[in-house]
Symmetry: C2
Subunit: 237 residues, 2 copies
Amino acid sequence: MSHSNTEPRRDHPNVTPTGHEVLAGVLRIRANRLQALLWQRAKPPHPNRWSLPGGRLGPDETVEYSIRRQLAEKVDVRELTHVEQLSVFSSPDRIPGSRTVATAFLGLIPSDTDPELPDDTCWHPVDSLPETAFDHEGILLAARERLRAKLSYTNIGFALAPPKFTVSELRDIYSAALGYRVSATNLQRVLSRRGALEATGQTVAAGPSGGRPPALFRFTSRDLQITDAFAVLRPPG
Amino acid sequence: MSHSNTEPRRDHPNVTPTGHEVLAGVLRIRANRLQALLWQRAKPPHPNRWSLPGGRLGPDETVEYSIRRQLAEKVDVRELTHVEQLSVFSSPDRIPGSRTVATAFLGLIPSDTDPELPDDTCWHPVDSLPETAFDHEGILLAARERLRAKLSYTNIGFALAPPKFTVSELRDIYSAALGYRVSATNLQRVLSRRGALEATGQTVAAGPSGGRPPALFRFTSRDLQITDAFAVLRPPG
DNA sequence: GCAAAAGTGTTACACGTACACCCATGC
DNA sequence: GCATGGGTGTACGTGTAACACTTTTGC
């Protein structure tokens, strides 16, 4: 048996080159809905369909650098509060033309920012997407799944929420992302007890229909941390 | 602003082609240690160093198919009880020669099988690795981390354990994989309560030093399932 | 005062851990 | 009988869910 196929490149000069692209499902909450950033294709293939932002991997960049660079063409990078790898999509016929592998990412943007977008680009609710190009819908659903899972056991809410917020606003963000109503009472308790949330000491005025003026909270960290200490089979202690 | 870099290939005929390879950290438990499958390079680059199994992605296969095909050159595919994507390694200088992106996988093999291996290939304890090639040590450590995490909240033990086993044997498998001693008592209770484990009704003879003859158990499923129902912020019920 | 919204207290429940205790075998 | 390893019962700690109750505002 030979290991020729694990030897370094070069010795197979006529092998089919594989293109590589990076794509991101960029999500945010707006008007109590989870929205995704999409741009409408002008030219074939799939004209008029909606595509994820991204593009070809450059020769001297990592996939992480590449997706951030290419997202900067759509939105201000300072507004991207979280980016993480999802997985590789590699079906040979996932797009027409020469074979292209895609590394998919999840990107998040806070609900209070309203980035200027190119003319062909806008936000679409993830639960009623327009006709999407290629396998981009599957990538988007994978992004949503990853977000939903991490909302449960990490502090990833910081990436969707504004710097300061009331517990009600945070509940609406979590509810929209998860797709079901969460309780403000327990959300506050869970995140506080985990040390993910803290009060700023400030309050804002009550709404027009009255009610107690809500306090403003913030996330204690803007870096992703696993906060659910309930992983099992943990070391004896 | 242009979307030229998200257009399909072809329109950039002279872009640098990107090679793509697939690599797997294949793990098993033997003699109470977590071991990885490595083969020793004969030729440069990195002669004599140890490499992960894998190789170049073929033009008409997915990365999942490719890693299974290439692992079949090392071990019988029927022995591979679990394969999953880890992440993409894409540093431009991760290997010498033309630019190559790697999709990394975790592969698992049960502790009772002893596959015939090629001459240059053998098992190495993950906690005392030989000199590895390129970025393969990092990939291996990522594979171990993924395994350790999933042992806590999934039934992934099925992929490391033989078809039938005593709770003591299972405890040794979990202990070796996690790197600390787990309690057989609680391991049995946790996995049973989750519905991941069931008694076969059979028992085996006690050891030479006596003791009650242990019962044989099996995993109820050989497909990966998330068994930890303790994810929080779950829908109202 | 009353409705509305925010926030706290309390109880119930689920899960995992620790440890005492019982079981079945070899010698 | 006694040592040895297997297996069960029980108490406890911790974390979340559900819901009643109090607080603070607008009208």
